[in-house]
Amino acid sequence: MNSPWPMIQQPPPPGTQGQYGYQQPPPAYHTVQVRQSFNTQPLHYVPAIQQPLPPPPPPTMAPVESAPRKKIDWPQPVRNYVARSFEPSNLLDDIARPDMEAKLKQTITEATDNNTLGTIDWDNLPLPQQMIRQERAQAALSWQQESVDLRMGGMTNGYTNAKKRKSQEIGGNDEDSSATPPWRANGRFEDRITYDKRTKPFQDDSHKNTSKFQKNLEKRQKRFQNEYKAYKPSPSPEPTSGPVVGTCQDLEKRYLRLTDAPKPEKVRPEHILRQTLDLLKKKWKKEANYSYICDQFKSMRQDLTVQRIRNEFTVTVYEIHARIALEKGDLGEYNQCQTQLRALYAQNLGGNPVEFKAYRILYFIHTSNRTALNDVLADLTTAEKEEKAIKHALDVRSALALGNYHRFFRLYLDTPNMGAYLMDMFVVRQRLAALANMCKAYKPDVTLRFITEELGFESDGDAAQFICDYNGQTLLEEKGDSLRFLSGKGTQIFEAARNEAFRKVDIKGQI
């Protein structure tokens, strides 16, 4: 153990987690439509807001909407097509009504603009809802390749978003067409602003209405477009009763939280996972990229779980992930693994129960979870209590319970396995507690050497540094040939620091 406490809880450099994005929570809000450009026409919003339209809208709806263009006498096939689209038996559950209406309108508008109204075979044209479904399926395919875990808030959210996005698209299409709607002709934002001649260059004449600002907006708009389209509604198979049997042959797989029944082609069977584990072990040794490793391990655990694989290999996966998480101070992941391991050990599947039971005790000491500690004690057998690692952890616990810091720091310096990573988490607060204790009991002073030894510091320098870190520099004094700590005067400082340190233990903090 080389100078343990300063290196504890080193969070990974910011940004390493975002790269993998596995912690993006679903939005806890309904997405409110943001104005994407200054010249969207309000008409498109209407269907979105009036979602529950009265059942069969009159087939004259389309003409009404495109009224500003010109009066068109709709051919009978088009009227039939519209009527068919709204027939209840043709409505699809997974396509929201407004989406369908928008698509319908888009189809007819395009046909009108291209003068194909009379040529299209309306009787055999897929209904708008069918088109949407097809589009979504395609988008989903391309999406899976990129697969970034962006979880949608829920079905409805996804739909409304898709709808909203659609309405923007149509706006864009209209722009290209020559027929600029009247409300836009003189209402454009740019036109209402008088530009300084020098800044005017922004306005490129060839792209009439693309200021740089607007370009950015469009870019952003596009970026989101993919996501929303990609949201795959669930035409998925009913969850079958048995566990999945995976067929995926890839060694590496990004972690994605399941929102649906797992698909066999996305799940790796056990013999592949074994190869994955070997690969990951090598990579970890070579690259030590924690966010990558953690992500990969999570997807491995997921594959194991969905296939209900519970054997010694499962234990190994969890143990290795737990160790790596410990080393990196990622208590959240560590705790997840520990919980699983506990259940796995209960089934006698092998592994290293003694080692991890000891960690478990230390972990609960860290989180000051008395109820859990009590339960751990109740679960241990007499034989287990004699095992070196467990005995050590139990001794640590009782030393702390009795305030015996002397014994605690002896145990700290002699911790088996990786327990020191856990002890590092609470050694600072225990040092403060011990100092508060000593300040009240020892008068007038003690040697700094005594502090170093009692509190398990590497050197007098470390001890002095620790005291100074809590503004105790005035308590250090040279006397003769030794440095002394004026314990009698330190009560206030260290009592306050102690209380602060014990106030809250954050266990949720994951890396």
């Binding site: 797992p262 655990r301 009590n374 339960d375 305030g403 015996n404 204790n437 030894e453």
Partner: protein, 452 residues
């Protein structure tokens, strides 16, 4: 079936809630061992609803007339009850453990039918004991069902989890039961009828059932939500002392224990003491439970031990606490450690181990106090003055006393550490002068509260 509905009419006519609840009991009364087989066989699936409807709503012999809606609600309740009885008879006859899962599901249907009666059919508040009955056995059957299920079934939902949920599988039904009980709780709490006819009067009974369930599920922290909820409603609730005593005692006991587990010993002691004082004098079992927590509490807050007279009626508590008490009194540290190890299983089972462990401080205090007394008095310069105790005591003397019991030599640094703890916790007054290796104790009360 006529027996059941006679009882129903009688209880309903008299407005006797507890009597009414007895007609929904899943355990037959001792004097009617055939009640359930007869009841179940008296009708069949085809006719059961019609039969019940006739007896509840249209029987000319009935002394009162139920509103149609409420009557239909009761028909539904007794129909589901009848089905549950069928499952119970089946489970008892088949001797197959798995059939208790069906019993649980049937009983849950009954409970839900009852709940709908309150929310939709205007069941009156005096009938809440029926909810007690439903809730009580819902919990019982859930535990039986979980026992039966063992490890065999895994719920379908788990496919969305990244890791499997071991606790969830073990206590699937009991967790489900907790949710239903919570629904009952909300139904009682949110009743807006005037207090005289409010379901709020059922609240503490249901809370106690919930606490009991949470304790068993090891999710005691959920009890907090309940406490917060009634705290929020306290303005329009009768005060606790207006409720039946049995509800009060159980509630205070649980609140006491919750505080105890969260190390708020003062609050714990207050609630437990109240429960202790209210508890019926012959409820030995309940008093024993209360004392199990009150005694360790008392040890920490007041540093006092239970008297023999107090423990006299409770042989189990004697076994639990007497060995430790003796060692604390004598200041016998190694004896204390041994007693703690010996009782560890019992202590952890009751979740008092970690609290009792702290009694070691008192044992140590008593030992150090003995050293202090053995140190005698300062040589008096003035023979007529009151004798003054020797207050400068070598650390080595304390160390010798500690080693005497354990037969192991303890390092002086560790001895100092223990003394520092005593001083820090105000069990001892004075300071350690490390340079000189002595402890300087206060002349006025070196061991506060012990007379020296």
């Amino acid at each position: 079936m006529d027996v059941v509905f006679e009882d129903f009419r009688k209880a309903y006519g008299e407005g006797d809630g507890y009597g009414l609840s007895m007609t929904l009991c899943p355990i037959p009364p001792n004097d009617q061992p055939d009640r359930f087989p007869n009841f179940y066989r008296s009708t069949n699936f085809q006719h059961v609803q019609k039969d019940f409807k006739y007896r509840i709503l249209h029987d000319a012999a009935s002394p009162f007339k139920l509103p149609i809606e409420e009557g239909n609600g009761w028909v539904e309740v007794y129909f589901t009850y009848w089905k549950a009885i069928g499952e119970i008879l089946n489970a008892e006859a088949s001797n197959e453990k798995a059939s208790w899962v069906k019993v649980y599901e049937a009983w849950k249907d009954m409970t839900n039918a009852l709940l709908r009666g309150y929310t939709n059919c205007g069941f009156e508040a005096w009938t809440v004991p029926c909810l007690y009955m439903a809730g009580k056995y819902l919990r019982v059957f859930a535990i039986k069902a979980d026992d039966a299920a063992g490890t065999s079934t895994a719920s379908v939902k788990t496919f969305q989890e990244d890791d499997f949920n071991p606790e969830g599988e073990k206590n699937e039904k009991l967790e489900d039961a907790a949710r239903i009980l919570n629904k009952i709780f909300t139904t009682c709490l949110s009743d807006r009828a005037p207090l005289e006819e409010s379901r709020k009067w059922g609240i503490y009974n249901i809370i106690n059932l919930l606490f009991k369930t949470y304790f068993r599920l090891n999710s005691i922290s959920l009890s907090k939500n309940i406490l917060n909820a009634i705290q929020a409603y306290r303005g329009d609730m009768p005060t606790l002392d207006a409720f039946p005593k049995s509800h009060q005692v159980t509630f205070k006991y649980y609140v006491g224990v919750i505080n105890f587990l969260e190390e708020r010993y003062e609050d714990a002691e207050k609630h437990l003491t109240e429960a202790w004082l209210l508890c019926h004098k012959d409820s030995i079992k309940n008093k024993e439970l209360i004392l199990t927590y009150l005694i360790p509490c008392h040890l920490l807050t007041t540093h006092t031990l239970p008297s023999l007279a107090l423990l006299e009626p409770y042989p189990r508590l004697q076994k639990l606490f007497l060995p430790l008490s003796r060692c604390i009194k004598k200041g016998d540290l190694s004896g204390f450690d041994a007693a703690l190890v010996a009782g560890e299983n019992e202590f952890t089972k009751r979740r008092i181990y970690l609290t009792l462990e702290r009694g070691r401080d008192i044992a140590l205090r008593n030992l150090l106090r003995k050293v202090f007394i053995a140190g005698g008095f300062e040589e008096a310069k003035d023979p007529s003055a009151a004798p003054v105790r020797r207050t400068r005591i070598p650390v080595a003397e304390f160390g010798a006393a500690i080693s005497l019991g354990s037969q192991e030599v303890m390092e002086m640094d560790e001895v100092e550490c223990l003394i520092a703890n005593m001083i820090y916790k105000n069990l001892m007054k004075g300071y350690i002068a490390r340079e000189r290796g002595i402890v300087v104790l206060s002349k006025g009360g070196a061991f506060p509260g012990t007379g020296v």
